[in-house]
Symmetry: C3
Subunit: 207 residues, 3 copies
């Protein structure tokens, strides 16, 4: 896999998630410190949990300070352009989906590199991609959006399966952009047509 391409995408994903975290925190009227914390957690939380579960410590961002800088830039960017971002929602959405896609692939690669099974690798990929958002929502005292939103983690799952299935047949140079595009398209279609997974109705559904 082209390391410099992946690194670039990783940074883009971190940046986009930091923006989404900063915006979510500002809607809750947190102070600047709170906004930074939520931006940080949203951008780096998924990778942190992945590294903890796999025993890769100190976790990545503790060894490469540039991640912190990117989160800081993301939060400042969200602050400066908060009025514009409203109308740029589509742009933000693309960045967010790009982050999802890249983190899915990165998480899988890291887990496969440690000799874990493909099923676990796909789980690590999904976890890297979505866990930051889950903590963000817990910190902001909401039922995690991931549980209510249009196909989200499921897009990562589908992308992960595609990536795993084609890994032996395609070089990374083609496979990475194909997987990213696939996840992006799934997200675009899901949001445009409000595709939801079916809910799993229990006895108390009428409440």
């Amino acid at each position: 896999m082209d390391i410099s391409l992946i690194t670039l995408l990783d940074l883009v994903g971190t940046f986009a998630f930091a923006i989404s975290g900063a915006l979510a925190a500002s809607y809750k009227r947190l102070d600047i410190f709170g906004v930074l914390v939520v931006a940080f957690v949203t951008a780096l939380g998924g990778g942190t949990l992945r590294d903890l579960l796999m025993g890769q410590q100190p976790v990545g961002w503790m060894l490469n300070t540039e991640y912190l800088l990117i989160v800081l830039f993301g939060a400042v960017f969200a602050y400066l352009f908060r009025r514009t971002l409203e109308s740029l929602r589509r742009t933000l959405f693309v960045f967010d989906a790009m982050g999802l896609a890249v983190f899915t692939i990165l998480g899988m690669e890291k887990a496969l590199g440690l000799g874990l099974s493909p099923v676990i690798a796909i789980m690590m990929g999904i976890l890297s991609a979505v866990f930051g958002g889950v903590i963000r929502d817990i910190l902001c005292n909401e039922i995690p959006l991931i549980f209510r939103q249009e196909i989200y983690a499921t897009a990562c799952l589908a992308g992960g399966i595609l990536y795993w299935g084609l890994e032996k047949y395609l070089p990374s140079l083609y496979l990475v952009p194909i997987t990213i595009l696939f996840i992006l398209i799934l997200r675009v279609v899901a949001v445009r047509y409000h595709l939801h997974l079916p809910t799993f109705k229990g006895e108390q559904e009428s409440i």
Copy 2:
């Protein structure tokens, strides 16, 4: 200790906790993905935190994919039998209490095997047994039930002390079922007679 017996009980406990998580998530009208996540976290969260604290990584379920299958079976089972489970609440309760009991013993054994002190081992046992349910409730945005319910973690504590006290005098073949039965009976009595620990009233108790 008879490894195959413990393994069997472990699988039963995981299955039961997966069912309880799936039902809790479906009451919150989460989609199928959300239900799977909550079932997974409820069933495996306690053991995961235990392994993280003790530095046992990658954590257990990452190396043995059968745990994931059992969680999947548990969630599917909860879906298929969701109407019947309402009337089977007593059966479910027994399975849940069985899970509590087995996870308490497993957690203790794992900690003692790493040379940790008995007090810490009992804590690891309780944590293995109850932490999954705590995260489940946080994800579903409730005050963790463990803090409001009839004697629950306290049953694990009592079982852990019993297990520790008798470990030198009884072979595992007798001690494991005795401890399990003890915790089961504590739970049955606590729920039937609504036994609560006293609350610890602060100055603002009248609010």
Copy 3:
């Protein structure tokens, strides 16, 4: 650094945080077990996350049972003196701020000792100091107070920067009390004059 002084301060901080956790839990009418859990998490949660992120496992309190005793003493103390503590709020506040200060320094020292960069070391210091309170508030189903309170983590940040800046010029014997006093004074001034960081207002600020 004088180990015995730091150890003493560490124990004082743990004790103070255990009291604050026990009081917070009792306001939520949790039972005795819940109170102990919240006291424990508040007092030891920050150090636990710090040790997990840095790969220092088993984490500190699993190897030194006296931490558990201190948490227990703190919770019992909070119970016995709950009426008096209301009027002793100022005393409690000083203990809490002392805990913040000491944990900031301890976290930094631990991280620097592992060869991590100063920026990460300051983050580990802040995290050690404030994370316990964050989990406490999540368990009690509140938006973490840290996000709403007068300058809190920011005091740790300022203290951490001071400590780092002066580390080469002053022996620990002077630097530790100076940093602690500095953080204490920041907290006193912040609370007395209701100093807040500015909020970061998003588009939906009028909601």
